[in-house]
């Protein structure tokens, strides 16, 4: 079973040379720490920066240079700043190659819910709806089950949707799965996790074809 850093580490292997990547808040943010340093990647933050670097050294924080999580950041050589409309032109226009974001629920048809729990939590969708509606390549990073132990990989989402039929890949603490033909297809198991355990934790239709390899991190 993976912890959050493990999930991030596995997802980092999906980041290819030449990719512009948008990282959501939470586990996705950690992905940046594990991307191979022999490939060229740039991180976009939808509040208006391309070419994000690490956090600033103490005392060098700039209130005018933050990421979408409102954290102080730095920029790398080749970076650029731009307005919000231009930022979403990058996203909607499919210039960003990979979007990694968290989710509360994912359905076997690719629907995703991650912005609202009616009557309980209403923080807003931020840029998530634009991201999932526009990107061709979306990876969801999340725990396989919620705090009550209930599966987050469902036949149908129960929460208000963020986007329809848009998720193609999921990396959880238990497995890597692809979504196609209205089902979750098991691709890899997390170290030490059995197919049976993954089956038990997946409410939606799970397809297990042949031997499922353990993931290499």
């Amino acid at each position: 079973m993976l912890d959050k850093n493990g999930i991030a580490k596995r997802i980092a292997k999906e980041v290819k040379d030449g990719y512009y990547v948008n990282l959501g808040i939470g586990i996705p943010t950690l992905v940046a720490n594990f991307v191979r340093d022999d490939i060229e990647v740039e991180f976009q933050s939808e509040n208006g920066v391309l070419g994000m670097g690490p956090f600033p050294f103490e005392g060098e924080e700039d209130a005018d240079v933050i990421n979408a999580g409102k954290q102080t950041i730095t920029t790398l050589p080749g970076a650029s700043f731009f307005d919000s409309a231009t930022s979403f032109a990058m996203i909607r226009g499919k210039h960003v190659h990979l979007t990694i974001l968290g989710a509360m629920e994912v359905a076997q048809n690719g629907d995703i819910a991650n912005w609202k729990i009616p009557g309980k939590m209403v923080k807003g969708m931020g840029g998530a709806m634009d991201l999932v509606a526009s990107a061709d390549n979306i990876i969801v990073a999340m725990m396989h089950t919620n705090k009550k132990g209930e599966s987050k990989l469902l036949k149908e989402c129960s929460l208000p949707l963020t986007g329809v039929g848009c998720v193609t890949k999921i990396v959880t603490n238990l497995a890597v799965l692809e979504i196609k033909d209205n089902a979750f297809h098991l691709i890899e198991r997390a170290p030490g996790v059995t197919v049976e355990e993954i089956k038990n934790a997946t409410e939606g239709e799970l397809i297990v074809n042949g031997d499922i390899p353990e993931m290499i991190l």
């Binding site: 509040n47 050294f57 103490e58 933050i66 979403f88 629907d111 969708m125 840029g127 709806m129 509606a133």
Partner: protein
């Protein structure tokens, strides 16, 4: 040169009234029009609709107007980090229209550029699209979103000149740039106001034609919401 300079925030906000719709730039607390917000609190205009990506925090930014119960309706994409906001919304005191962030930005740009509406894929199939026209182009579904209509836009820039030309700094540009010219009157406050001719015409982010009033702001707090640093080794 058409001079847009006014002497202070009081002159800049002349004509601001209760029941109006305001646009306010900024992302989180970054790039918010601090001087205009303080003046709106002072003027105590009521029942206003605010178009702003976020709603500030409890004791800063638009949170100040919320504390003062001046806001009737918020149009935003993300409103976390604000307890008073959540309380007012859940109690029904505050109307909230949550809008995808890219749609919010483009509804500003459409107003600025004279487009009545636009088709975006964001929100299709979700409750955001309920009651809205949808349409297929090339096999993909889109939602028709109308341009915003607002009385005042309050934006904050880094540098500006008397002609109203603006230059923003870093990610404080955000919605500020797209709101310029998107309301009947756009008021820009700047950290440094210079005479016309001092800014390079090639490096203007927003030409002065989109601005009606500009003033030299002061006492910027520029509060950081999430101070994240790494250690020197």
């Amino acid at each position: 040169m058409i001079n847009k300079k006014v002497n202070n925030v009081t002159e800049a906000l002349k004509g601001v009234k209760s029941n109006m719709t305001f646009m306010l730039g900024g992302f989180g607390l970054s790039g918010i029009p601090e001087n205009a917000i303080a003046e709106l609190v002072k003027l105590n205009v009521r029942n206003v609709t605010c178009i702003s990506n976020n709603a500030g925090v409890d004791d800063f930014g638009l949170g100040l107007l919320l504390q003062n119960k001046q806001i009737k309706k918020m149009i935003s994409s993300y409103v976390g980090e604000n307890d008073e906001f959540e309380r007012q919304m859940l109690s029904g005191e505050l109307e909230v229209e949550l809008t995808p962030q890219g749609t919010l930005a483009e509804k500003c740009r459409a107003a600025q550029a004279g487009f009545p509406a636009f088709y975006t894929p964001a929100g299709f199939g979700t409750e955001v699209a309920e009651g809205k026209e949808t349409r297929e182009f090339d096999g993909k579904m889109y939602v028709l979103e109308p341009a915003f209509k607002a009385d005042f836009a309050f934006v904050k820039a880094w540098k500006g000149d008397e002609a109203g030309n603006l230059i923003f700094k870093g990610t404080a540009r955000n919605f500020n740039a797209n709101m310029c010219g998107a309301a009947k009157i756009t008021v820009a406050e700047v950290e440094e106001l210079v005479p016309a001719g001092e800014l390079d015409p090639n490096q203007i982010h927003i030409p002065g034609i989109f601005i009606q009033r500009i003033f030299q702001g002061n006492n910027y707090e520029k509060r950081i919401e999430q101070r994240t640093v790494r250690q020197r080794n």
